[in-house]
């Protein structure tokens, strides 16, 4: 009997060790444990703090369960048998209050960190970083990134300067999607008729994996893009190359053709974008006035309102 249980416990510990090793082995490729930006760094640290705090309760529970079960097994006649022990008020107070204390600590951390990491809030770093705005539009099934300050747009590709805050405005002209660049920080939903916000920064240049993380239909698996952080001079030259290229102008007619469902679209660029296109995309779900057919011929987007 005893040997069998020991084997069982040992094999379980062995499994845990294997799991730990695998986790260690993968930690370099686990993008989330390897953050490249202010936001993701804080979110990673938050994970570690939370796990450590919870271990204070979880580890004792884990050990106690198996130790007590083993000690008071039926075959062990040396252990005390006391069927009358069904209440110990002090202990019960202890295990109401101890987890509560941990949750209280976590609660304080939650309150502070949720406000600090609020995706709507511009980043508060020690040194004020410059900022650019990107309007992200989730389409069936591709990402359109509009750079309103630069007047260009790109499809399924995002380039931005390193150490510069990227202020995203996110909407969808398709089902709900979620913009996620794990190595830079958390995600936010994009929904039709809504404009949400997300602030991220890359502190090291590189190519980061970006995607939609909220299932949006048949072509969802192809809604991946590369988020490329480069030096500001490289970014400027990238913008200028697109501006001076003969690539298409993104007007309403062009946009509506693009918005039709398509899968695995290649990366492409638009040398100019009609002003207020993003607002028009959001507003067409809000009011019946600027319905898609009315303004298509004029080539300029009408907008009843600025950002929401």
């Amino acid at each position: 009997m005893g040997v069998k249980y020991k084997i069982a416990i040992l094999s379980f510990l062995f499994l845990l060790a294997v799991a730990g090793l695998v986790l260690f082995f993968y930690s370099h490729s686990a993008v989330m444990l390897n953050p490249q930006g202010f936001v993701s760094l804080h979110e990673r640290n938050l994970m570690i703090i939370a796990v450590l705090l919870m271990s204070l309760v979880v580890l004792p529970v884990f050990i106690l369960t198996f130790v007590i079960a083993w000690k008071y097994r039926e075959g062990n006649s040396k252990a005390k048998y006391n069927p009358g022990l069904v209440r110990l008020p002090i202990y019960e107070v202890l295990w109401w209050s101890f987890p509560f204390a941990i949750v209280a600590a976590l609660g304080v951390i939650t309150w502070i960190s949720t406000h600090a990491l609020n995706p709507y809030k511009p980043l508060q770093m020690q040194s004020a970083a410059p900022s650019i705005t990107v309007q992200a539009v989730a389409l069936d099934w591709k990402w359109l990134f509009i750079y309103p300050q630069q007047g260009i747009a790109s499809l399924n590709f995002l380039e931005f300067p390193v150490n510069t805050q990227v202020a995203f405005k996110i909407t969808s002209d398709a089902p709900m999607n979620s913009l996620w660049i794990p190595q830079l920080g958390g995600q936010l939903y994009g929904m039709p008729g809504m404009s949400t916000q997300l602030h991220l920064i890359a502190q090291r240049p590189g190519n980061y994996m970006g995607m939609s993380s909220n299932f949006s239909g048949e072509g969802f698996a192809g809604m991946q893009f590369t988020a490329k952080a480069v030096s500001s001079s490289e970014f400027t030259s990238w913008v200028n190359t697109i501006k001076n290229s003969s690539s298409t102008v993104l007007n309403v007619a062009e946009y509506e053709a693009l918005a039709k469902p398509s899968q695995n679209n290649p990366i492409s660029y638009y040398s100019s974008v009609v002003p207020n296109l993003y607002n028009w995309i959001v507003m067409k779900y809000m009011t019946p006035v600027s319905s898609s057919s009315t303004s298509a011929g004029t080539g300029t987007a009408t907008s009843t309102s600025t950002s929401t």
């Binding site: 993968y26 989330m32 979880v58 048998y81 202990y91 929904m191 939609s212 299932f215």
Partner: protein
């Protein structure tokens, strides 16, 4: 004319992909074998009289089990197909499933496992155990109980019809609009989803009302609220949640149906619809639903651990308060399913902290179980194995859950495979392990023999090891930025090895399931060897259900017991005085069989099928039929059969002699 008769149904609805065709043919084959066997052994009349028209809560409970088992098979095959697809669909290879088929698979897998496996297993146990544990001969409304079951069965049938005609929703089991709206999902898939859930949900709601009344009004003399077994407390809490939460689902599904059928604008993009409202409504049902699934498990372990530690449950009162606290809190946390929808920091932080608070009463329960074992006599039986497996997995899942309750962390982990791993830890390691524990524990009560422990332990290890192999990699994949619901990914992600490990893990779980089926056959073959010699109390247990013979007679209790303490049967055994001592036999009235519930279920199925395909005349016909049947039932007077006291006495003494022999 054709569209009047057939609605949207055309011949092309029969076109199915090869994998589905294979599955359907297999199911058809199994069905055919069953039909042949029934005919050969002339068992049709028996099936109709003894099972399909019964109002006996015990038989209804067993029918829930049968459906859950069949649906578990379906859900498991779906899981294996998805694991297979994700193991090979990398880079140039797109695997063996199309994107659309994969999307249908994860949608139906979720619906199947939650609605048609976990829920019926829980209601099976409620049916089998609640009346026995509270010393009652029946549930409050036996007819309504059968109706609940047949509505649920109709929902399961509508759900399975999508394999044969048309297709299922490809929207994920949550069916968020606008993806689930007509504009983006024009086919019948979402309609199948709506009506499968709606019918099963109505069945659940009716069953919830029934068990709530049963627990409040039908307890035997002396069983005050604070003397109820803890399983009854958790069942009470579960049914309170059902009664409060399921109407929200009913309303939400109704609104989505109105959007799709009449072109209304509750959740549409544009025209003044609001998709975020759907997400809120869905999860204000959906989060209590999670606790509807896990709460009975807490009750099961409270019974199992006490019995196999030969000790009364430790900290009973704090267990009750913890149960009540979880019930209340379960309605205050739904927003944590969408921290990433752009809610303000105050809102997110509030719901995050409310979510974490649930960890406190849950932790209390675990501590109380540990101290039930403390200074007890712990027997390492099969139900206890599942308890230890539960502790190993559930604590892990709990840590992952509290992590994601912190919005700052959830922004990163939401929609990732980390999330998928978390809730599978809770649903497999928590709900399924708990249900297995309960099923193994109560199995002898209904059959008179125990299940083979040796095979059972093999299957346990398969499940446990398979579980860690299948879901451990998903936690890591989440950290690697893998999102859920991907039918294909690029090779540069480096995810493939972990997906392959997860696939192997799922095969080991499948082996565990096959071993469980084998265990049932082996135990049945060797039933003489495994027979419960005590005649009703194989585990030396504590509560009333073990005081009556196994298998349980139709009337449950020949004499209604009177209890004075918690664990009344243990109490009686200690004192040597049975709870029924000195009380006379009496006439017992039991409900007569009726074919109305199964006919109602049939009409509910026809209604669901017809409305999915927009066959309006059939919808109207089914509704009229339902009204007629209801009126028929309400005007029938002769619904009960009386077993005279002398007959009860004769049957009871016969049973007791058989046990003594």
């Amino acid at each position: 004319m054709m569209s009047f008769i057939f609605g949207k149904l055309t011949l092309s609805a029969f076109e199915q992909s090869p994998t589905i065709l294979a599955a359907v043919s297999f199911m058809g084959l199994v069905g055919l074998v069953v039909i042949i066997l029934l005919t050969k052994h002339k068992r049709w009349g028996w099936l109709w009289r003894e099972w399909l028209t019964t109002l006996d809560h015990k038989k209804i409970g067993m029918m829930y089990l049968v459906i859950a088992l069949i649906m578990f098979f379906r859900g498991g095959v779906e899981a294996l197909l998805m694991r297979g697809q994700q193991s090979i669909s990398v880079g140039a290879s797109t695997g063996f499933l199309s994107a659309n088929h994969f999307d249908q698979l994860f949608s139906s897998h979720g619906v199947d496992m939650i609605f048609f496996v976990a829920m019926p297993l829980i209601f099976a146990l409620f049916n089998l155990i609640i009346p026995l544990q509270i010393g009652s001969r029946d549930v409050a409304f036996p007819f309504l109980n059968a109706m609940s079951f047949w509505f649920f069965a109709a929902g399961a049938m509508v759900f399975n019809m999508s394999l044969i005609l048309g297709h299922f929703a490809a929207t994920g089991w949550v069916a968020y609009p606008p993806l689930s709206e007509l504009a983006y999902s024009p086919g019948v898939g979402v309609d199948y989803w709506i009506w499968a859930l709606q019918l099963a949900g109505v069945g659940t709601l009716l069953a919830g009302i029934n068990f709530l009344v049963t627990i409040i009004k039908m307890r035997c003399p002396g069983m005050t609220l604070m003397k109820m077994p803890l399983f009854i407390w958790t069942a009470l809490a579960t049914n309170v949640m059902v009664v409060f939460a399921f109407p929200i689902l009913t309303a939400t599904l109704g609104l989505l149906f109105l959007d799709r059928f009449f072109g209304m604008h509750f959740f549409t993009a544009g025209f003044g619809g609001n998709a975020m409202m759907y997400v809120n409504l869905f999860w204000s049902w959906g989060h209590p639903e999670v606790y509807i699934l896990i709460m009975p498990i807490f009750g099961i372990f409270s019974e199992v651990v006490a019995t196999f530690s030969k000790k009364r449950l430790f900290g009973y009162a704090s267990m009750v308060y913890a149960t009540a606290a979880i019930t209340l809190l379960s309605f205050t946390v739904w927003l944590h399913h969408f921290f990433t929808m752009g809610g303000g920091a105050d809102l997110n932080a509030f719901f995050g902290i409310a979510t974490m608070l649930i960890a406190v009463p849950t932790g209390v329960k675990i501590f109380n179980w540990i101290f039930t074992m403390y200074q007890g006599r712990v027997r390492f039986t099969l139900p206890m194995y599942w308890f230890f497996g539960f502790i190993a997995t559930f604590t892990l899942g709990g840590v992952a859950g509290v992590m994601m309750a912190i919005p700052g962390i959830d922004y990163e982990l939401h929609n990732s495979l980390f999330l998928v791993a978390h809730f599978h830890t809770m649903l497999i390691g928590g709900v399924m392990f708990g249900l297995f524990s309960g099923l193994y524990y109560w199995f002898p009560k209904y059959t008179g023999f125990k299940l083979s422990e040796a095979v059972g332990k093999w299957s346990f290890w398969c499940w446990l090891i398979g579980f860690f192999l299948a879901f451990g990699p998903l936690y890591i994949l989440g950290f690697m930025g893998a999102t859920r619901r991907l039918y294909h990914y690029s090779a540069s992600t480096g995810w493939q090895p972990l997906f392959i490990v997860a696939g192997i893990g799922s095969l080991i779980i499948a082996a565990g399931f096959i071993l469980q089926i084998a265990q049932m056959f082996i135990s049945y073959r060797d039933r003489k060897k495994n027979i419960d010699l005590t005649g009703g109390d194989p585990w030396d247990a504590r509560t009333l259900e073990w005081s009556i013979p196994s298998p349980v007679p139709e009337y449950n209790f020949a004499i209604i017991p009177e209890v004075h303490d918690r664990d009344p049967f243990w109490d009686a055994k200690q004192k040597g005085v049975m709870a029924t001592a000195g009380r006379a036999y009496e006439d017992i009235s039991v409900p007569k069989n009726t074919s109305i519930p199964i006919l109602m279920g049939g009409l509910a199925f026809v209604f669901g099928f017809a409305i999915v395909w927009h066959i309006i005349w059939l919808v109207v016909a089914a509704l009229l039929g339902g009204v007629t049947l209801l009126a028929w039932r309400l005007s029938s007077v002769d619904t009960e059969r009386v077993i005279p006291a002398s007959e009860v006495e004769r049957m009871d003494s016969e049973l007791r002699q058989k046990i003594a022999a």
